[in-house]
Amino acid sequence: MKFAVKAWSNGSARAGVVQLGNFPHPIETPCLLLSTRKGLPFFISPDLLPSLPSPDSHLLQVCPLHFLEGLSPKTISNSGGLHQMLGLHDYGLAAVTRDSIQCLPEYNSTNKVGASFETPCGRLLIKPVEYMELISSMRPNIWATLADEVPTWVSDKRNRTSVDRTVRWLDDCIALSPAGGAVFGAIVGGSNVEERRRCAQEVAKRNVSGYWIGGFGLGESRDERPALLNTITDILPEEKPRLICGLGLPEEVLQGVASGIDLFDSVYIYHLTLGGFALTFPLNGVDENESNFQLSDIGSDRTKINLRATVYRKDTSPIVEGCCCYTCQNHTKAYINHLLNVHEMLAQTLIEIHNTHHYLGFFRAIREAIKSGNFEQFHRQFIEGRRNCVAVAAVHA
């Protein structure tokens, strides 16, 4: 993996490119890693994947623990690794244990020998050596070291322990690491600025290709986030990429970008899709039709619409007029509303395709703002636009 920063905007926000050995096209950052279940997007089958914008959609986040449900590392290895097993030869795969959906860190059971997770096949204690066995069999392009992730409400002592362990496991993982694959050192520290700094400083000393920032989206308030993020990114060397998990909403992504984060997970899209929500917000945050907002916009909070809402029963328009995704090119809101009503899986497939497409477009808009030096303005406009929407909605409520 190669990474280079190409442009800065307003201090920390940066645009760059990631280049992966098996995929000839550079992928521009900031960008979204598509969340997966066992290596494939939740509802988008592999033959529909190429309909998503390329190369933006070519980074997938994979949780190694998913494969423990039925596949041994030996079988994965015999299959030739994940790229081969999944038939995703020109995709970049980033292995991270946290998936926020089915494999949640179970910090109470984590101990000095390994990290504990609640998974579909029960609670698992993963030691660095086992974790590295998985990574070796999977041969991902990028992998994060094993972390002891804790929520913000644990004691200072427990939070300190989590930093100590994460740094120790980082050394263990690096010592056991196979050839190939970019190592991303895990950074934790909860909502304690001092611990975040200590962890980032330790990890920055190690020989890693990038950084994985964990412990976010686990109870910290949105207001305390910029200080925590800036503390970390100020310490990290500029030339290496930074991947974060746990920031999902558009506003949260913008916070991360403002602090110099390059790669984001997309669990947010999964939750929207399951709920029947489709993203509709204008990609630059400014809605030209602001004044046209009417009471009839039920089922919408102006960033997304709830396709289950009865107003869409006869709506023969696409989710977003002018959207060039497979879903909007082929299907109406009325059809998706019907599929949701009768619990047909195609609903999730179509919604996931649109939402992924839409969010990739949002990231593209962010990159363009950075490259033109206007990120701060873009960020402010987006937040104000959202605030106005909420205000208008409140007036009409």
Binding site: S45, T75, N78, G87, R313, Y335, N337, H338, Q348
Partner: protein
């Protein structure tokens, strides 16, 4: 009549034809996957086209409940609603009611049932069934018939057969779009050859665009099953398509095609996928089985589908019955298998090598030569020599 049926090739009773429907030119024999609610198990319509689906079946009963036939009509018909450019077929709704609802009761007026929405008694008449199907707008619509379990015997069978004949006239009279939609009549009569004969003759008199053989695949013996199919296909007109309803096991399709049937539908390929079973030339492959966990071969090494080209049995094993993607991928493969089977039947008949195809099919499925006796009997009637794939023991029993 809104179809054209041209026979392109024959082998004895078997035929390969081109069926031109308002929305698609189909090649028969053909299998129709069941898309109950206007979709098939997570598959996008472009995937269904890629798999080679020619006609999709929609269930009138389900569609009439949600999103309702009025809404489908208002939004331009089912083709437009689900964005499916190829052909569609809807059933009458009667069978679904009788099989899904405990309180369905059939009288001369129609099928009385308890509304699943508010519990009130409702009535589906032949006129209404056709009206609903006219609104949905499928290329082929089915007459409302009096459905009786094949395992029932006695006067009820006779009553149902005569009622089906009386209702066909009401269906024909109610049909408002005969130039855009083809109304198929359904042959009833249980396992009684006399009743089946009366029903076939009655329906043929009405000169319908096509005919279905109903009341089968309901638990009758395989021997009774093929004999009814053989009798009906022999009596139905040559120049009209023949559809055996609810039939979907690959072996049954091969036998029925040998006997001169053209169309089939069944939920089997997608339903069995949901339980982790793949259709393969040898029969079935149970992906849930622990032996699959380290098997790095494709589901079917001879299959050219996207799933077999990409994934190992081990990976599918890890997905099936746990993740949505598992049943999606297996459904894809199973439907591909059925479409390939349809294509193979069609081309082998046209190319004059139908008996070889049947023998190879049977040899794969019964490598020990233990071809079931009913298959041997049916093939004899079909005039197809399968002695080369039957073991000496079983052929001496014939």
């Amino acid at each position: 009549m809104a179809l054209r049926f041209e026979i392109l090739g024959r082998f004895n009773r078997a035929r390969a034809a081109q069926l031109t429907l308002p929305h698609f030119v189909c090649q028969t024999p053909l299998f129709m996957p069941v898309g109950t609610q206007g979709t098939i198990k997570g598959l996008a319509t472009n995937q269904l086209e890629e798999i080679g689906c020619q006609i999709i079946l929609g269930n009138t009963y389900h569609l009439a409940l949600r999103p309702t036939s009025e809404l489908i009509d208002e939004l331009g018909g089912l083709h437009q609603f689900m964005n499916w450019p190829r052909a569609l077929l809807t059933d009458s709704g009667g069978f679904q009611m009788v099989s899904l609802l405990h309180l369905a009761d059939i009288t001369e007026k129609g099928v009385t049932f308890q509304s699943p929405v508010d519990g009130k008694p409702m009535l589906l008449t032949p006129e209404e069934s056709i009206q609903i199907q006219n609104r949905i707008g499928a290329d082929i619509i089915m007459a409302l018939d009096d459905v009786v379990k094949t395992t029932i015997t006695g006067p009820r069978i006779e009553e149902a057969m005569y009622r089906t004949l009386r209702w066909i006239d009401r269906c024909i009279a109610a049909h408002k779009r005969p130039h855009e939609q083809n109304l198929f009549g359904i042959v009833q009569g249980g396992l009684d050859p006399v009743l089946r004969d009366i029903c076939v003759r009655g329906l043929v008199d009405r000169n319908l665009p096509g005919y279905a053989i109903g009341g089968l695949a309901g638990g009758e013996s395989k021997d009774s099953f093929w004999r009814v199919v053989a009798q009906c296909t022999a009596a139905l007109p040559e120049d009209k398509p023949r559809y055996v309803m609810g039939v979907g096991y690959p072996l049954d399709i091969v036998v029925c095609s040998a006997l001169g049937a053209d169309m089939y539908d069944c939920v089997y390929p997608t339903r069995t996928a949901r339980f982790g079973t793949a259709l393969v030339p040898e029969g079935v492959l149970k992906l849930k089985h622990n032996a699959m966990a380290d098997d790095t071969r494709p589901i079917d090494p001879t299959c050219a589908c996207m799933v077999c080209r990409t994934y190992s049995r081990a990976y599918i094993h890890c997905l099936v019955t746990k993740d949505a993607m598992g049943s999606q991928l297996l459904s894809y493969h199973n439907l591909y298998y059925m479409m390939k089977l349809s294509r193979d039947l069609h081309t082998s008949i046209i190319e004059g090598r139908f008996p070889e195809f049947v023998c190879n099919f049977l040899r794969m499925m019964f490598p020990k030569g233990d071809v079931p006796e009913w298959v041997c009997n049916a093939m004899e009637v079909a005039g197809i020599d399968i002695s080369s794939c039957c073991s000496p023991l079983s052929s001496s029993q014939d």
